[in-house]
């Protein structure tokens, strides 16, 4: 166990110190601040595009443009970007070391290959968690500091759901937890591909391409795609949004979370299987 903790510590330091890890943090902070600035300047105009269709019938009273809405919009905007940032780091956890040759030294430690792989995978998850914490701080807390707290007008393709401000914190907590589970799928996929492939770029590009293709399939309303959609992990990655419906579809959220967990276990299982049998020649 002490060996495992030592490897994990080492892997965490390595992951955090890599320049590409900081790119993720910078991108998150930049996107959040950029969107907050844009909404601060033009928020009312942007919101009028949403509220315009019932402007002639209703007066909407209350502060629509508040921190909760900005956080909701930022999270929606980052549906595609966040997994890419995770893939950028986790996609070469093994393959990067294989390409550079340092994997041989790493495997000379008394800990077995499985422990080394799990330590690397966990360090990837820790990085993902840090990214999400940073996102939470910027998207939720900074937005609330700038725009104030208020009811959330959650937009979905079926219309609007107004979530009261005093009923929202638990939803955010669970939403970030599901977001972590979703990004863990990407981290696990990246780790798996990193074990299979020997150069550091191919797994990253493969993960990114997979996410982009799956997301595009999810966006189109076509009968052919409707058959495939339930089997794509990207479909379940956005189940955090369901927490902002009234009533909350608990059953579908549990199903989505279970499918995401199944993906994590499968990807990690395949990764361990490959890594244990991998012929290290570099």
């Amino acid at each position: 166990m002490r060996e495992f903790i030592a490897i994990l510590q080492n892997e965490l330091i390595k992951t955090i110190r890599r320049p590409r890890s900081f790119i993720g943090f910078i991108v998150i902070a930049f996107i959040c601040l950029m969107l907050q600035g844009a909404f601060y300047q033009d928020g009312k105009e942007i919101m009028s595009a949403v509220t315009g269709q019932f402007d002639n019938l209703f007066n909407i009273q209350g502060n629509i443009l508040n921190g909760n809405l900005i956080c909701f919009i930022v999270l929606q905007t980052l549906i595609v970007q966040m997994p890419l940032l995770v893939a950028f780091v986790t996609g070469d956890l093994i393959s990067g070391e294989t390409a550079s040759g340092s994997i041989r030294f790493l495997l000379t430690t008394p800990a077995g290959r499985t422990k080394v792989l799990i330590a690397k995978w966990l360090s990837g998850l820790m990085y993902t968690l840090l990214l999400l914490l940073l996102l939470g701080i910027f998207a939720l807390f900074v937005s609330r500091a700038i725009f104030g707290v208020g009811d959330l007008m959650a937009l979905n393709s079926e219309g609007l759901t107004i979530i009261r401000a005093d009923d929202i914190n638990w939803r955010w907590g669970l939403a970030f937890l599901i977001a972590f589970l979703s990004l863990s799928v990407v981290a696990s996929l990246g780790t798996m591909l990193s074990c299979i492939m020997d150069n550091s770029i191919t797994p990253i590009v493969t993960v990114m391409a997979t996410i982009i293709i799956f997301t595009i399939i999810g966006m189109f309303d076509m009968k052919t795609f409707d058959v495939i959609k339930p089997f794509l992990f990207t479909t379940h990655m956005i189940s955090w949004r369901s927490l902002f419906e009234d009533p909350v579809p608990v059953k579908s959220i549990i199903i989505s979370c279970s499918i995401l967990l199944l993906h994590i276990v499968s990807f990690l299982g395949v990764a361990i299987y490959y890594f244990k049998r991998k012929d290290i020649t570099t």
């Binding site: 019932f54 019938l57 209703f58 009273q61 502060n63 905007t77 937009l155 219309g159 999810g218």
Partner: protein, 232 residues
């Protein structure tokens, strides 16, 4: 006997003319409106708007004549642009701006009501036609149908009990015909979910907003700042 019949007939004619005269009904109604300079009350709002899911809300309502109306509460809520609680009294009080006729009679909430149509005298008026169901015995507005140039038609139904003498309802149900709110998948970033059937989106549905009032405080002369202040 002839004299008796004449007296009865003339009395009957007088009664009929009173309930047939929309101006008289409006005059009686306006007396009640004039008695209320301002009021505050607790309000409970229930929403059933197509495409909008919103919980019931509680708040406080402030009104000052002629048409300053404000509901103060924490959070987001929808109110119709043509809010009858705000502008019904001011609409009827300006008797020089419209002509009125009775188009029929109808029983509403067990009350025999005259349907008084209000037609503005100028074509530039925002109001196109106002229909008011007014109790002929004790003039109170039980139903309205207001058609305006920009905001379509809004129906309301009022229920009275404790403050009926000053024409303040305990419950107002506002009915608005509206199409279901549509949100594109791109706008809502709701990937993975099927878009709504376009034909269904074009269907006109009736949305209702129910305002239940309690704890009326009438003519307390509250300061104007209460109408401006936000709920903490």
């Amino acid at each position: 006997m002839k004299q008796f019949l004449l007296i009865v007939l003339s009395f009957f004619c007088l009664h009929v003319s009173a309930t047939d005269d929309p101006k008289m009904l409006i005059r009686e109604l306006n007396k009640k409106f004039r008695a209320v300079q301002d009021y505050t009350a607790r309000v409970r709002m229930e929403f059933d708007i197509p495409g909008v899911k919103m919980n019931t809300m509680n708040g406080k309502v402030f009104f000052k004549r002629p048409d300053r109306f404000r509901i103060r509460t924490k959070g987001i809520f929808f109110l119709p642009k043509q809010n009858p609680m705000q502008n019904m009294s001011s609409m009827l009080l300006d008797t020089n701006s419209y002509t009125s006729i009775i188009s029929g009679y109808e029983v509403v909430n067990n009350k025999r009501c005259a349907i008084v149509n209000i037609i503005p005298l100028t074509s530039s008026n925002e109001l196109i036609l106002g229909k008011f169901w007014i109790d002929v015995k004790d003039p109170k507005v039980y139903k309205t149908q207001i058609t305006t140039r920009n905001n379509g038609t809004i129906d309301t139904e009022s229920f009275y009990s404790t403050n009926s003498s000053v024409n303040l309802p305990d419950k107002v149900v506002i009915m608005i015909e509206t199409k279901k709110i549509r949100m594109s998948k791109m706008m809502s970033a709701d990937i993975g979910r099927k878009s709504q059937d376009k034909a269904k989106l074009d269907e006109v549905e009736t949305g209702t907003i129910t305002l239940s009032f309690s704890g009326y405080k009438i003519n307390t002369r509250f300061p104007d700042s209460e109408l401006e202040r936000n709920e903490d």
